[in-house]
C-alpha cells in the first residue's frame, strides 16, 4: 500500500515511542531513550515490542532486548 504505518514501540509493554513510518520496504530510524532502570545487567533480557498498524489491521512484533551499561 505504501501508506504511513503507525508504530508503537514498547519495552516490557510500556510504550516508549510512537511514530509513523512508510510501509514501502525502506529503513527508517527510531529513537528509544532508556534509563538506568531499564538496564538488564542483573535482570536478564527484556522484551522490545513493536505494534505496527495500518488503517485496518495491526501486527505485534517482539525481540529479546539487552540493555547494558
Amino acid at each position: 500500500m505504501q501508506d504511513a504505518l503507525d508504530f508503537d514501540f514498547a519495552i516490557n509493554n510500556i510504550s516508549r515511542n510512537q511514530t509513523m513510518g512508510m510501509g514501502n520496504e525502506t529503513y527508517f530510524n527510531v529513537t528509544i531513550v532508556t534509563n538506568y532502570t531499564d538496564e538488564t545487567t542483573c535482570s536478564g533480557k527484556i522484551q522490545l515490542s513493536a505494534n505496527v498498524s495500518n488503517p485496518k489491521l495491526s501486527a505485534l512484533y517482539s525481540w529479546n532486548l539487552s540493555i547494558l551499561q
Partner: protein, 145 residues
Amino acid sequence: MELFVIDRSGLNDSFIINLTVLETQHPPNITNPISSENNLSIFDSFSFDFNASDLEDYNETEGLLNFSLVSSDGATFLIVNSSDGTVTNSSSLLAGIWNFSIFVRDSSGLNDSHNFTLRIYGYPEIIYPMMDMSSIVFMRTRQIT
C-alpha cells in the same frame, strides 16, 4: 397534422403539415455511486448495490439495464449481477489497491459508468529486524562530568 380554417360564409381551406418526430434516446444514470476510495481489510466482505435510472428503461427492476464490472488491475474477486447491479466478492479480498469501473448500459446501447478504488489492507509486516534474531543489545553510554 391538418390545419383547418373556415370563414363566416362557410368557405374553408385546409392544409396538412407532416411532422417527423425523431426520438432522442437518453443515457442511463448511476444514481448512487459509491465513494471513490474505500478502505477494507483482507477479512472484510464487499457488497454494494448500484442503482441506475433511465428515461426509456426506467430502472434496473425493469430488466432492461445491463451492469458490467471491469477491473483495470485484473482483479477477479468481485463480480456483478448484471441485472440488478449488486457487486459482491466471489472470493477473499486480496491485499492491494484495486481500481474498478462499473458500467450500466440501456436497451439503446447508451452507457454510464463510475470509477471506484478498493484499498484492501493485509497485516503490516516488519521485515527487518526479524523476530528470530537472537537478541538486540543496546549499550547505554554514560557521561560523567
